[in-house]
């Protein structure tokens, strides 16, 4: 028994030694995890985005003189595999921090891993409010505007509509459920006169669009909230167009203005939906121009929202590492809380109170131009304007 303990101790000593060694090495490593094989339509542009960021950072001299290296892993869309990847990155590659993830449950799994292993985690995309609120922890930060923020942005526009009878269509999983719940809550606060006349919950990725469209039409709503995206959205829009569901009805829709989901619709793009998204073609700010130019020069392709998320995730990670001047987790957390930095959408801040960034989104209307879907009348909504007050956030978030 004693001999074994000795061996274990020796093994740990060797391990600790090797970890110390990798921290001394010239490069700074960041671990990145995403659902590359499951969601290529989002993650391919995302990958291009972060690769561009790495190139820019290293061309500008790296992080405090050290070269930045990103080691990227695929989670295949499974929380358990994401944890295996996280473990490999932390234990075997010795990365300074974890970043990435798309699906909410994977974001939560990695966030829980980070909390347990005391590793810094910068969540890129997962939208669930739980990441920063009900299941938030000291080690986890999030870049993208959460479900709550996007809902609040849409509600601002939707509450001005005259419509009183509303129906909802959302994918039957956490993202859809919480998007509908927040939207309903915020909407009913502003407009107590609203009635919710129907709700449809097709399974994610398996919508049987005909019957769903028919069922919603039967309830005769004046306005519809849509949360479906990807192939489900395509089917819904096609059936809805043919069956005239959207004629004379207002539609408010999450994420539909993102090129990932809007571009496939081509000449089927419905007119006049109020959506959140990313109209890269009509943003005229110096920050975005610089990003757009660099992206198009490198890839000869236009950016999707994934490109922005990937780019800004690594830029944010680099900014935090540079400010911390160390890869020590506690120093990085201290550096990240309240840090401000430029982004293609303007300056953003990672809030101290809940570790949510104030990156915003564009809200506008869909339209068709030359047989393609575009977002028009888009205005940028700052994330900081759509978060609840500090007192409420403190109630939502467990104490560290």
């Amino acid at each position: 028994m004693r001999a074994r303990n000795y061996f274990v101790g020796a093994a740990f000593a060797v391990l600790a030694g090797s970890m110390g060694h990798s921290a001394l090495a010239q490069d700074i490593k960041i671990g990145e995890i995403n659902s590359y094989s499951l969601l290529p339509s989002f993650t391919e542009p995302y990958r291009k985005g972060w690769q561009l960021a790495v190139e820019e950072i290293n061309a500008a001299g790296g992080i405090n003189g050290k070269k930045l290296v990103v080691i990227s892993k695929d989670d295949g869309g499974k929380p358990a595999d994401a944890q295996t990847a996280a473990n490999e990155l932390v234990s075997s590659e010795g990365v300074a921090m974890l970043t990435g993830t798309f699906l909410s449950n994977i974001g939560l799994a990695v966030s829980d891993f980070a909390n347990q292993k005391k590793v810094f985690f910068l969540a890129a995309e997962p939208l669930t409010d739980a990441v920063t609120w009900s299941k938030g922890n000291k080690y986890t930060f999030r870049l993208r505007p959460s479900n709550y923020m996007q809902a609040a942005m849409l509600v601002e526009a939707a509450s001005k509509l005259p419509a009183k009878r509303w129906a909802t269509i959302a994918p039957n999983y956490e993202y859809g459920q919480s998007a509908v719940a927040v939207f309903k809550k915020l909407m009913s606060e502003k407009r107590p006169d609203i009635q919710w006349v129907d709700e449809q919950w097709p399974p994610q990725g398996k919508i049987d669009a005909g019957p769903v469209v028919q069922a919603v039409a039967q309830a005769n709503p004046e306005a519809i909230l849509n949360v479906t995206f990807g192939p489900d959205l395509v089917k819904l829009v096609r059936e809805g167009n043919t069956r005239g569901l959207f004629k004379g009805r207002e539609v408010v829709s999450f994420l539909t203005g993102e090129p990932e989901y809007l571009d496939p619709l081509k000449d089927e793009t419905p007119e006049g939906w109020i959506v959140t998204g990313y109209p890269w073609y009509s943003i005229k700010t110096p920050e975005h121009d610089a990003f757009l130019k660099a992206y198009q020069a490198k890839y000869n392709d236009y950016p999707r929202l994934g490109s922005i998320v990937g780019y800004q995730t690594i830029k944010a990670a680099a900014a935090i590492l540079a400010k911390a001047g160390s890869t020590d987790t506690d120093k990085m957390i201290a550096a990240a809380e309240g840090i401000s930095m430029p982004s293609p959408f303007g300056e953003i801040t990672f809030r101290k109170i809940d570790h949510q960034s104030t990156l915003g989104a564009f809200v506008g209307k869909t339209a068709q131009k030359d047989g393609k879907g575009v977002m028009v009348d888009a205005t940028y909504k700052k994330g900081s304007d759509y978060l609840p007050g500090d007192a409420e956030v403190e109630k939502l978030r467990p104490k560290d």
């Binding site: 391919e44 295996t84 739980a130 999983y173 449809q200 990725g205 039409a217 069956r243 571009d263």
Partner: protein
């Protein structure tokens, strides 16, 4: 009233798309007994090729021509697959072909992204069917009307093909008794190839016809494959009319179900299948399966306990595994723990499949129940880890006891599909019951106690449990209970004639396998620190099947090797390459061709040959014995 008529017609249109794909699967299964997992992949390739063709050639001729040419092209690919891959493995143990087609599916998912890019593709609308028809103020898309007409037309053509042509007669004969057809001098090879081509053609046509309604993307295959299996089974295997009726039944129940329960779609088909199979064990239009002749080769080498040398070798391997923490890092140890857990999972299914002859397609249910059991006990009752580990698997045990009771009343593929239905029902409860299970966000923070928290300690724990479980199951195989179970597998009639209560024995085996899987799940919850509905999902059940088949279903402990090889390779490939599915799929296909008895099965054959160093005469002897029923 008009609304209900339109909703009914909408349901019929959905049914037609489902039927096209399902009929192909049904035909293929009926004749070749292949559980063609790649059917969804052919459906998807059909859609992709049709997309390319219809974008390239516009106009009515371009569109309809494109659709048909795409289906023909995919049928050609199907012929190639049948001749190059499947022909080599028809005589492998039952379900082994599933492994080959699973490998193909993995490859195709990566290939379509490589060829067509990652974006979702939206094709043209069908010329002449772009608009909608007004029906008392309700709109019916004219394309739906086209599909509604197409369904019965295809059904009619197939009926004529099967009832009125010589080829159809042969196919029906082969569905009933393929050995007899072969004995009568029919060239089985070409019959099988042609049947496979027709089935694949229908799948690809179904995919191509989705272009005006759907987006073409790389996950289309998984979206449809399980559903069409369910439809085929509800209708009764090999029955085309059954597939049609089942497709209509499922689609209409969905169309009207969502009016009352908008969340029903997620589980509806599985509920219907469970009810149908419990009431009618062979589906709506199916007939009792003729006792399938066992593939020659099964148990040609009688099982025996390990010799003392082999025991020493196994012990040495265990010792080598146990000293891993002395030189491996934390990551390697965590992967080692995961592999050990999957060994537990695989041997539990292997016990059911190889000893009991009961292939479960829903074994992950009991794995996941064990994991949820631990999560409930740890998070809600706050019990210590050791208690959770002991009590958690009981949830898997209870699940297996309830579902197993119904499942063992069935056999063969019907058994497999009923277990799948139960697994999906459990999955949907975990997915939907957000207030208790946390829905798809799962239950977080189930981390091990400090004594087991270090990777090396957890590794020893997992390894120890895996070794104990494997030994216990082996002991059971060679116990009287094990012999009784093998008797029910080899001949239900004869075993009952000698006084074995077959159903009770099988039920017991099911509960043992479920509990064992639950033990694996309990450890898994602590390894990952969280539990998600994924842990009950179809893909995990398929993983378990693949591990067992890879190891060799006719062996006593092939699951151990299968789990180690598959899991280690999977983790390594995902970490090393962006095309992990392509490489893993290719590897599986290669294994299937080179080792048609699985890895361990093949090693045993080689060892046998060396020992005898004479041409094996036993397999010739075995055939008359096996077919004497």
């Amino acid at each position: 009233m008009a609304f209900y008529v339109v909703q009914f017609l909408t349901g019929l249109a959905s049914a037609a798309s489902l039927f096209l794909v399902a009929s192909g699967l049904s035909i293929i299964f009926g004749v070749t007994r292949i559980v063609n997992f790649a059917h969804g992949a052919f459906y998807m390739i059909g859609a992709y090729i049709a997309f390319t063709l219809t974008e390239r050639f516009s106009g009515a001729f371009g569109f309809w021509g494109g659709v048909v040419v795409a289906a023909l092209a995919v049928a050609l690919i199907g012929v190639l697959v049948e001749m190059v891959l499947l022909r080599r493995i028809y005589h492998a143990p039952e379900l082994f072909q599933l492994l080959g087609t699973f490998g193909l599916t993995l490859m195709v998912e990566d290939l379509v992204v490589l060829i067509w890019g990652p974006d979702d593709l939206v094709g043209r609308r069908a010329p002449g069917f772009k608009g909608a028809v007004d029906f008392f103020g309700q709109n019916i898309p004219s394309y739906d009307l086209f599909l509604i007409a197409l369904g019965p037309i295809v059904l009619g053509i197939l009926w004529l093909l099967f009832q009125r042509t010589r080829w159809g007669v042969l196919v029906r004969a082969a569905t009933q008794d393929r050995d007899m057809v072969a004995a009568l001098g029919v060239n089985q090879k070409w019959l099988f190839t042609s049947v496979f081509a027709v089935g694949v053609f229908l799948a690809a046509l179904g995919g191509a016809l989705q272009i005006p309604r759907d987006a073409v993307h790389h996950a289309m295959d998984l979206r449809i494959i399980v559903e069409v299996f369910v439809v085929v089974v509800i209708g009764g295997l090999g029955s085309i009319v059954g597939a049609f009726v089942a497709a209509v039944l499922v689609s209409e129940l969905n169309a009207f179900g969502i009016l009352i329960f908008p969340k029903i779609s997620i589980i509806l088909v599985f509920l219907v299948m469970a009810v149908v199979l419990i009431v009618r064990p062979w589906g709506l239009f199916g007939k009792p399966e003729a006792a399938a002749r066992k593939t020659p080769g099964l148990t040609v080498n009688p099982w025996r306990p390990l010799t003392s040398n082999e025991r020493l070798a196994a012990l040495a391997a265990l010792v080598v595994a146990a000293i891993l923490p002395l030189f491996a890092g934390n990551y390697a140890l965590t992967v080692g723990s995961e592999i050990a857990i999957f060994v537990i999972f695989a041997v539990s299914l292997h016990f059911l499949m190889s000893v009991g002859g009961l292939a479960s397609f829903g074994h992950a249910a009991y794995f996941g129940l064990g994991a949820y059991g631990v999560a409930f006990l740890a998070k809600m009752a706050g019990l210590p880890m050791i208690v959770c580990l002991l009590l958690g698997p009981l949830l898997g045990c209870m699940g297996a006891a309830v579902f197993g009771f119904f499942a063992v009343q069935l056999s063969g593929v019907y058994f497999a599909m009923l277990t799948l239905a139960f697994a999906q029902i459990v999955w949907s409860i975990a997915f939907q019951w957000v207030s208790v299970t946390g829905g798809d966000n799962g239950i977080l923070g189930v981390w091990p106690a400090s004594w087991a928290a270090s990777p090396s300690h957890f590794y020893w724990l997992a390894l120890g449990v895996a070794a104990l479980v494997t030994i216990a199951l082996r002991v059971m195989v060679f116990s009287p209970f094990g012999y009784a179970l093998r008797a029910t597998r080899d001949s239900l009639l004869r075993s009952e004639a000698v006084g074995i209560n077959a159903k009770r024995i099988q039920w017991t085996a099911f509960v043992i396998a479920g509990t064992t899987a639950g033990i694996g799940g309990a450890l898994f919850a602590y390894l990952k620190g969280s539990v998600f509905p994924d842990n009950l999902g179809i893909s995990l059940s398929v993983d378990a099947l693949v591990m067992v088949l890879l190891g060799g279903v006719e062996t006593v402990s092939g699951g151990v090797i299968g789990a180690i090889v598959y899991k280690a390779l999977n983790i390594w490939l995902v970490s090393q390459t962006d095309l992990s599915k392509l490489v893993l799929g290719g590897f599986i296909v290669l294994i299937v061709v080179v080792f048609p008895k699985g890895i361990v099965g093949m090693l045993e054959v080689l060892a046998q040959r060396r020992r005898k160093s004479s041409p094996p005469g036993s397999s010739l002897l075995a055939k008359p014995i096996e077919s004497a029923e």
